[in-house]
């Protein structure tokens, strides 16, 4: 028992959390006593005796877990081994429940953790749809309803979609570029362990007096600055999720820039690598803004600052500007990695090179640049400086161009293909193209100020974001999970169950979110627990389809769990794909490669006779030198 508490691990982490929280709590009480104040402050927004332990507790947990052990030893001058692999790799299931520096373990940890939050957030959506099945109040009070949709969105965005992409890329990306691990494995592990902290804060806020945060995931001031204690849990949860995100993005950037295998120049990187590089550029520059603005709200609440307190000269609209300066790039943070996954899946199952590979990569960069210039299209009706609307409208519509390039290039890839539909991942990829096109079209409409004035803050918005986030991002997540499941587990999932999951998800998704466009245009505002009776029938239909959608995800869960344990062995390369991760065993060895692979051609050389992307092993040394190759042209030069 004592030994377990001395060793880095979850037990010591729990002890650290307790000590950290107790330290924070005592500090607050003692300082307040010393100042002659009552020990506890229970004003609606204050609660320092809760907020401070909410910061010190998680830090104590991370210390106890062992996240800082190596750095502490190094800083204190104690002997350290630079190539310390003691916390690397998984040899039993227990190794997934500790501080682990292996990118493959971290990838699995990310994916499993985020899917737990996906099901929690999904259950909240089910409760909401049950409430909305009829006009009036039946199941939850309006205040609870506000908490539910706020927590649903926060959980899905901050601890599901954004990090699950980080998880998939964590697993796949180092393998794809021929690297033994990420550039900073200890930072990588720390990034992961900050994530469940954020998720637990979002979920745990339901235990607060006054309920969970209820100002929406957007947390607009001044509703959020005056909200009950739960709002502070949101403010702090975002800090941990954001720090996790930023650290991972830095890690990806350094890994991609410095650790590619010999011969892999930028024009030989698979598009998933391009996509994650673009995403990381967005995360690194944009995420500090939401961290900052949530701190400003927290300070307004706890420290009586006046960033957004109008009565004292604060400015409410600046909250929205800072918030959306992150949160619009965030929608691309939630989409670009999916674009990368779709490119991998489509070229593999169409047995064709990606059509217009270079333009595909440049389109990603174009989206990155443009996405910083469009944030105020979320504020067309906010009362902001009116002139700003027109330039923001033009940039918003222009961002459809690089997005369109991607759609058309995927269609070009399918043209003349040898199309295999045997994999569920390909079904999700094709459905993604249709659904995302529709989400993109409604996005263009929303970009037009006169149309946006009418449909802003209605169910049309709810429909649009679910078309791009469920029909877009989540479909690509499923495509990615199915695509790399054999690589991650060494086993094959059940395609029959995969098909059931796909078709029920597709039907459920369209039945749920398509009619939302119509009721929104006709006058149903979003974020309402109750609505006008004229929308009753449509909402009943939507609720029924949403239950189907929810039930379909249980098939996925069952399929994944059972196949991971009992699925048939998959082999190294079941899809006969060309990228490097398929050259190693499934699952890959602890350090990925016995020898560093050498890249000799583009990543998608399907149908080019004799073409190869990469070579493992010492033979054929004559093709090892990096070549200034055009994607595609290089392949024909290798034997």
């Amino acid at each position: 028992m004592v030994a377990a508490l001395k060793r880095p691990g979850l037990s010591r982490g729990a002890l650290g959390a307790l000590i950290g929280a107790a330290f924070g709590f005592t500090l607050v009480v003692l300082l307040r006593k010393a100042s002659g104040l009552p020990a506890f402050q229970t004003e609606q927004t204050g609660y320092p005796q809760v907020i401070v332990p909410l910061i010190t507790g998680p830090l104590g947990f991370l210390v106890g877990l062992g996240a800082f052990d190596y750095w502490f030893r190094w800083a204190s001058g104690a002997p350290t081994i630079p190539e310390d692999h003691s916390s690397h790799g998984a040899y039993s299931w227990k190794d997934y429940f500790r501080f682990n520096t292996d990118h493959k373990v971290i990838g699995i940890q990310y994916i499993c953790t985020t899917f737990i939050f996906f099901f929690i957030g999904g259950a909240m959506a089910m409760i909401m749809r049950a409430e909305l099945a009829q006009p009036g109040t039946q199941i939850v009070e309006p205040g609870t309803f506000n908490s539910l949709f706020s927590a649903h969105a926060a959980i899905m965005i901050f601890v599901f979609v954004i990090p699950v992409f980080a998880g998939i890329a964590n697993y796949v990306l180092p393998l794809m570029i021929g690297a033994p691990d990420m550039a900073f494995p200890r930072l990588n592990a720390l990034s992961f362990w900050m994530l469940p902290i954020a998720g637990l804060m979002f979920v745990g806020s339901f235990l607060c007096p006054g309920g969970a945060f209820d100002a929406g995931w957007t947390g607009y001031a001044p509703l959020s600055t005056g909200a009950p204690l739960g709002q502070s849990f949101f403010n702090l949860g975002v800090q941990f999720a954001g720090a996790s995100s930023i650290a991972t993005a830095l890690n990806f950037l350094v890994t991609i820039i410095t650790m590619r295998a010999p011969g892999m120049n930028f024009w030989r990187m698979p598009l998933l690598v391009w996509a994650n590089m673009s995403t990381s550029l967005l995360v690194v520059a944009a995420t500090p803004f939401i961290a900052g603005v949530q701190f400003m709200v927290l300070f307004d609440r706890a420290l009586h600052t006046n960033f957004f307190q109008t009565l004292n000269g604060g400015d409410v609209l600046s909250y929205q500007h800072i918030f959306w300066f992150y949160s619009h790039p965030a929608v691309y943070i939630m989409m670009l990695p999916g674009f990368g996954i779709i490119s991998e899946v489509i070229s593999t199952h169409a047995r064709k090179p990606i059509f217009g590979y270079r333009l595909m990569a440049l389109a990603l960069i174009g989206i990155v640049v443009l996405s910083y210039t469009v944030w105020a299209h979320h504020m067309f009706v906010s009362g902001m400086f009116a002139w700003l609307r027109v330039p923001m409208m033009i940039t918003t519509l222009l961002i459809a161009v690089p997005t369109g390039i991607k759609i058309f290039s995927w269609l070009g890839t399918l043209f003349g293909a040898k199309l295999h539909l045997r994999s569920t991942s390909m079904l999700f990829a094709l459905a993604f193209i249709v659904t995302f096109t529709m989400g993109g079209i409604s996005g263009v409409m929303l970009g037009m100020v006169p149309i946006d004035i009418h449909v802003s803050d209605t169910y049309f918005i709810v429909a649009h974001i679910h078309f791009v986030l469920f029909g877009g991002s989540v479909f690509t997540i499923f495509a990615g999970i199915y695509h790399w499941f054999p690589k991650m587990t060494g086993r094959m999932y059940d395609e029959k169950l995969g098909r059931w999951h796909f078709w029920l998800t597709l039907i459920g998704m369209y039945g749920t979110f398509l009619p939302m466009h119509w009721i929104g245009m006709e006058g149903m505002p979003r974020r309402v627990a109750d609505y006008s009776a004229q929308f009753g029938n449509w909402n009943l239909l939507i609720s029924c389809f949403s239950f189907l959608l929810g039930a379909a995800q249980l098939i996925f869960l069952y399929n994944m769990i059972v196949s991971w344990r009992w699925g048939p062995l998959a082999g190294d390369n079941p899809w006969r794909a060309k990228t490097i991760e398929w050259l190693v065993s499934s699952p890959p060895p602890v350090f990925n490669f016995d020898e560093i692979p050498r890249v000799v051609g583009g990543p998608y050389e399907y149908g080019v006779p004799g073409a190869r992307h990469a070579i493992l092993g010492p033979s054929q040394a004559e093709v090892g030198a990096p070549e200034p190759a055009v994607a595609g042209a290089a392949g024909s030069r290798s034997p």
């Binding site: 009070e141 309006p142 506000n146 607009y220 001044p222 509703l223 109008t310 009565l311 004292n312 400015d315 409410v316 609209l317 047995r351 064709k352 090179p353 059509f355 217009g356 333009l359 009706v381 009362g383 902001m384 400086f385 027109v390 409208m393 033009i394 519509l397 222009l398 459809a400 161009v401 369109g404 390039i405 058309f408 070009g412 399918l414 043209f415 003349g416 040898k418 199309l419 193209i433 096109t437 079209i441 263009v444 100020v449 006169p450 149309i451 009418h454 803050d457 209605t458 119509w518 006058g523 505002p525 979003r526 974020r527 627990a529 006008s532 006969r576 399907y606 149908g607 073409a611 595609g632």
Partner: protein, 292 residues
């Protein structure tokens, strides 16, 4: 691809565009049009629906064709033709969408200018929102105001609505008017917020003001009645209303630019009974709406 296939595909795209666009432009998605602004916005929407149907048809037809034509027979493990790209095609699908969206942007810009053009004889009304009710003040020439919980307005005259919130953000939306704008709490000395929105109702009827910015647990029932009536009826209604002296910071007062330091006490929810209107005071409930 042969020329005949190309012609067939283009034909299929055009047919699908027509088949989807015709019914979609015939449906009144936005419901009743009850303002001059609504007509222009709905026309813009219909133009966009046609363009969207065209783009969507391209994607659907090409995707459907590829899945139908190129799906392999079981056992065929060969690779597709190694086509790496086509520069002319790639330029085309960069340039053409750019032209389309720029057309949409310019068209929207023109519509935006039209729907926000100010009339000289606009009727000034101060709209004040607070959790969870609306107050509409009609400034009178003598400096007093008529205060109402129902928005009663004349037909065919531009309204200039000056919007203020007393506590948190709210949003003013009458779906049949297609006009929406957030109400932002003002600080001392006002704030740099575009708080005036214009709309010209052109259809007599009863509608709802719907709050569309999350404002707390009562958000979903924060409604007010709107009655658009002929001008003569409006004038007589206005005469019947008692006038009150505006007091700063209260919803009954003029809400433009006056100091709102006093509104710190927030709860100015009471209005004198005399200001209630002939319309049902319980305007927050879902009563009849103008849309069908």
């Amino acid at each position: 691809m042969t020329r005949a296939t190309l012609v067939r595909l283009i034909a299929a795209i055009i047919v699908l565009t027509v088949v989807t666009a015709v019914p979609m432009t015939m449906i009144h998605w936005n419901g009743t049009e009850a303002s001059t602004q609504a007509h222009e916005i709905d026309t813009l929407l219909n133009v966009m629906i046609i363009l969207s149907c065209f783009v969507f048809s391209i994607v659907i037809v090409m995707l459907g064709y590829c899945v139908w034509k190129y799906r392999v027979k079981p056992g065929d493990e060969s690779d597709g033709e190694p086509i790496h790209g086509n520069t002319r095609l790639e330029i085309a699908w960069t340039v053409i969408p750019t032209v389309i969206v720029l057309f949409g942007a310019i068209y929207s810009w023109i519509v935006l200018g039209d729907i926000e053009s100010q009339a000289s004889d606009a009727l000034h009304i101060d709209v004040t929102a607070q959790q969870y009710e609306w107050t509409f003040n009609y400034p009178q020439p003598d400096g007093k105001v008529v205060s109402s919980k129902t928005l009663v307005v004349p037909d065919n005259r531009q309204l200039s609505l000056h919007l203020t919130a007393l506590d948190v953000l709210h949003s003013f939306w009458v779906p049949e008017w297609r006009i929406k704008r957030d109400l932002v709490p003002a600080g001392p000395g006002g704030n740099d917020v575009d708080n005036t929105v214009v709309v010209t109702p052109d259809k007599v009827g009863t509608y709802n003001v719907v709050c569309t910015e999350l404002c707390g647990f009562g958000h979903s029932t924060m409604r007010a009645l709107v009655r658009v009536v002929p001008t003569a009826q409006y004038e007589s209604w206005l005469k019947r209303q008692p006038e009150v002296t505006p007091s700063p910071g209260s919803p009954n007062g003029s809400s433009t630019g006056t100091s709102s330091q006093e509104s710190a006490d927030g709860g100015t929810t009471t209005t004198t009974p005399s200001t209630t209107t002939p319309a049902a005071p319980g305007s927050s409930s879902d009563t009849t709406t103008g849309s069908s």
